[in-house]
């Protein structure tokens, strides 16, 4: 291979045992996906509808798998090299920043190609069933998937040049992927059909999502299309946006791949307490809680591990928490106000649906980043033997760590609750529903935290822990929605309801009687699932902590 980096990156990636498992897993999963919906009747419909249903489901699954598995590789690629010192060696070779970037991008694309190739037998099975065309369906879908892989690989590499740790790179990359692929669908759902600028902006946002483009290609309507037919060429727009973004990300990353990536002064550790009164007051006004002020010693009745977790988390400091809470509260109230005063057609259910989606998205986005690395970060940085050498018991360590996540999530959730208060004020009859939704959200937060912590505890590296925690949580929150997308065909009502039973998002949306979910009875079944799942995850976490604490 011309670029030595491609060989090194791709071969070393494929040499890992987990890659073998990944490949086998992908091939099996796609095979099962097709077998699940393969027609078993003696008669065949000539229209090809069944084949299209199977292919649609398969395409969504493939896109979801790509978005779940791929971003972790580019996200960790540059930051890991930088931290291990090999990036400096690479930049010292005549390769140059462009070839380094292309080498890394091609290596990730090689992996994406492998994933897509592994899905080919299942795709050809759909094709053999008839009803789907080679160019119009198969080639178009695979081109879209390749474009998606390219865009998110370039994004991951860009994030990797800015991140200082691998887990931070994974967090930011998955956050941005979730934002641009799923959350970008949100504005359109709520403004479609209106002749406002917001509707147009929402339409463009939607076109940035590969899910919207895939739905358009596979002939399905929008997720919340409420019977409206859109004339927008979503796939075409997505292609343009994706290509522009890929080029922009690539140029940006190449411009960062030079000595400046290392040219960062060590933090001088300035303290506001040593500065003059004017500066101190100004900082107080700006920050409310000045992050550069000397912190007080840990109090007598506080779990020191919890305080440590808050202090060593970049966004765990009080001034960041205050900002996050303020933003959540403002968004929650602002959304409620805007929808109530601006749109007469919207029912309270729609507003509730937006709130629920926002809150769950926020939970899915921030919980794995807070909880996945609780143990692996200690093991990776060498802090675990130090904690073991203190008289703190294993349970106290785990509790301190969980408490730091619980408090953050509680604050975030409480900050979003004012919107519900306004809803209940507008329509008092909704009180019971809102109460149930709030229970759903708290149960979701608890489950997301324990699932992330349990999955993360199984890994030694924080980046792997974070990536797998995101994958697990997104699988629970996203996979049933794939079944829900095929709610009229190929899946029946009962199948969809059973699939949604494990989904906390669907449960909350069904309680608030949101469009598309009001027909499913998911409570209390979902609460049972979340409760039992949380207990199991807690046991796994405690067991794993005890295992690594035991003398070897």
């Amino acid at each position: 291979m011309a670029n030595p980096l491609v060989q090194r990156e791709l071969i070393t990636m494929l040499r890992q045992r987990r890659m073998l498992l990944l490949q086998c897993g992908i091939a099996t999963a796609f095979g099962l996906l097709v077998i699940l919906r393969w027609p078993t009747e003696a008669r065949m419909a000539l229209s090809g509808t069944r084949s299209q249903e199977v292919f649609r489901l398969f395409a969504y699954g493939l896109l979801s798998a790509l978005l779940l598995m791929l971003p972790v590789f580019p996200a960790t690629s540059i930051v890991r090299e930088r931290n291990s010192g090999t990036l400096a060696l690479l930049l010292n070779t005549p390769l140059g920043s462009r070839r380094i970037f292309w080498g890394k991008l091609l290596a990730v694309m090689g992996l994406a190609g492998l994933i897509l190739c592994l899905s080919l037998p299942s795709a050809t099975a759909c094709y053999a069933l008839g009803g789907i065309s080679l160019q119009g369906d198969l080639l178009a879908v695979y081109s879209l998937l390749a474009l998606t892989a390219l865009q998110y690989s370039a994004l991951g590499l860009l994030v990797s040049t800015y991140a200082t740790t691998t887990d931070a790179a994974v967090r930011w990359t998955y956050g941005l992927v979730l934002l641009s692929s799923v959350l970008s669908l949100g504005p359109y759902q709520f403004f479609q059909g209106t002749e406002t600028i917001l509707a147009e902006v929402g339409d463009w946002f939607r076109c940035a999502s590969p899910f919207a483009a895939l739905m358009s290609l596979s002939g399905a309507g929008g997720i919340g299309a409420v019977g409206l037919i859109s004339t927008t060429d979503v796939a075409g727009r997505f292609t343009v946006i994706s290509l522009i973004l890929t080029v922009a990300y690539s140029l940006w990353t190449i411009s960062r791949l030079n000595h400046t990536i290392f040219d960062q002064a060590r933090d001088a550790g300035e303290i506001s307490d040593d500065q003059d009164l004017g500066t101190r007051l100004l900082r107080r006004v700006v920050f409310i809680v000045d992050p550069q002020r000397r912190s007080r010693a840990i109090g007598p009745f506080v779990n020191p591990v919890m305080v440590k977790e808050f202090r060593c988390r970049r966004f765990g400091r009080l001034h960041w928490l205050l900002r996050l809470i303020a933003i959540c509260a403002m968004l929650s109230l602002g959304l409620t106000y805007a929808t109530v005063t601006g749109t007469v057609d919207w029912g309270v259910e729609t507003i509730g649906g937006i709130l629920v989606l926002m809150q769950v998205a926020l939970l899915v986005l921030i919980t794995p980043s807070l909880a996945a690395g609780l143990l692996s970060a200690e093991r990776e940085t060498g802090g675990w033997p130090l904690l073991q050498m203190t008289p703190l018991s294993v349970l106290r360590i785990v509790w301190g760590k969980l408490l730091s996540v619980i408090l953050t999530l509680l604050l975030v959730l409480c900050a979003t609750l004012p919107g519900y208060v306004v809803m209940v004020y507008i329509e008092p009859g909704l009180r019971l529903q809102v109460e149930r939704v709030v229970i759903c959200l708290f149960a979701t937060a608890g489950f997301a935290m324990l699932l992330s912590a349990a999955v993360g505890s199984l890994f030694r590296r924080t980046a792997s822990a974070t990536a797998m925690a995101y994958a697990a949580l997104l699988a629970v929150c996203g996979a049933p929605l794939l079944v829900w997308l095929g709610r009229d065909a190929p899946f029946g009502h009962d199948t969809v309801e059973r699939a949604l039973l494990i989904n906390p998002v669907a449960a909350a949306l069904s309680v608030i009687r949101s469009t598309g979910f009001r027909d499913y009875q998911l409570i209390p079944g979902n609460w049972w699932f979340l409760g039992i799942g949380s207990v199991v995850c807690l046991l796994v976490l405690i067991g794993q902590t005890r295992r690594i604490s035991r003398p070897q």
Binding site: P304, T381, L386, T390, P391, P551
Partner: protein, 326 residues
């Protein structure tokens, strides 16, 4: 801890991982207030021995005690008695040095007021007071090592176990580290230090234990170990001119043990030889050399340093077990 009692007692300690023996029948005793240097090549079993001492590993057989406390049966009490600094610093992001020490102080249950005071004390002891507001991850390696020692001192342990404290330090930082360890020993702490930088160890350690392939090859003071390396002393006679080297060598061969090694070094105008002769016999040898007209400018014993001793033990095969002092 009573100063008359040994601070550390290890008896017949063996640790096996499946078929691999990491540590075999290690026995040694260290009096309180002394510094023990644990040396050996990579994979010699140093870290395994340390991990058993601090309760992070269980021995397959044998016992280890710090004071009166069993390291295996009473790991909780060991944590209060021992300050352990692993070979990795254990950094936390976004934490200042004072916050870092505050956390570990709180984890050890030191009350708030006492902790604030104790942090200042350990910062002074380790000369790191000027770093208190710096972020731990932004510290240089040498600074981190000193903060690491400050961390181990927080709960005022009697025994400090430091794994490679001088590893990766520049000469200036190594000297500072050496002075710090000597200062800690003067404060009455018992120290167990592993290191690859042997000249540093030979200067500060009261006792040295050499481990290879999981076995203790030698244990004692540096002088005792040097003597164990070779029962025969290496002597050197420096001559005024190299022309007399052959004559001098033949006189020496005549008077020392038959078959003993005698080396002529024309470049240094020196004859070196190994002998078990006593001081009086060596005096007679010198007299004979002078009487035969050989102009001797210096006649002396060549000291075996710790590095030579270590190399001698490191090159030994498993079967060749040296005499071990206890």
């Amino acid at each position: 801890m009573n100063s008359n009692k040994p601070a550390v007692v290890i008896e017949h300690l063996t640790k096996r991982y499946g078929g691999f023996t990491a540590l075999e029948d290690l026995s040694l005793t260290l009096p309180a207030g002394q510094i023990l240097g644990l040396i050996g090549p990579n994979g010699a079993g140093k870290t395994t021995a340390i991990k058993i001492l601090v309760g992070l590993a269980k021995p397959t057989s044998g016992t280890a005690r710090i004071g009166d406390v069993d390291c295996v049966a009473d790991a909780r009490r060991i944590k209060q008695l021992v300050g352990y600094m692993p070979d990795r610093f254990g950094s936390y992001d976004n934490m200042r040095v004072r916050e870092y020490l505050d956390f570990f102080g709180a984890a050890f249950g030191i009350p708030r007021r006492a902790r604030i005071q104790r942090i200042e004390e350990v910062l002074e002891t380790t000369n790191t007071a000027y770093m208190r507001d710096k972020f731990v991850e932004s510290l240089s390696h040498g600074m981190q090592q000193r903060v690491g020692i400050a961390r181990t001192l927080l709960h005022d342990p009697q025994v400090l176990i430091l794994d490679e404290p001088a590893n990766g330090l520049d000469p200036q930082a190594r000297i500072e580290m050496r002075d710090l360890l000597i200062r800690l020993a003067k404060l009455g702490k018992t120290l167990i230090v592993t290191s690859h930088i042997l000249p540093e160890l030979s200067r500060i350690c009261d006792r040295v234990a050499i481990l290879t392939h999981g076995r203790l090859r030698a244990f004692g003071t540096v002088d005792e170990i040097s003597r164990q390396v070779s029962q025969r002393r290496t002597m050197e006679a420096l001559l005024a001119s190299p022309e007399q080297l052959a004559v001098a060598a033949s006189v020496i061969r005549e008077l020392i043990e038959p078959g003993a090694e005698v080396i002529e070094a024309p470049a240094d105008a020196a004859v070196r030889f190994k002998t078990a002769l006593l001081e009086a016999q060596l005096g007679e040898l010198l007299t004979q050399l002078i009487q035969r007209g050989i102009r001797v400018t210096q006649f002396r014993e060549v000291q075996t340093d710790l590095e030579a001793a270590f190399m001698s033990f490191a090159n030994q095969k498993d079967g060749e077990k040296a005499s071990i002092g206890k």
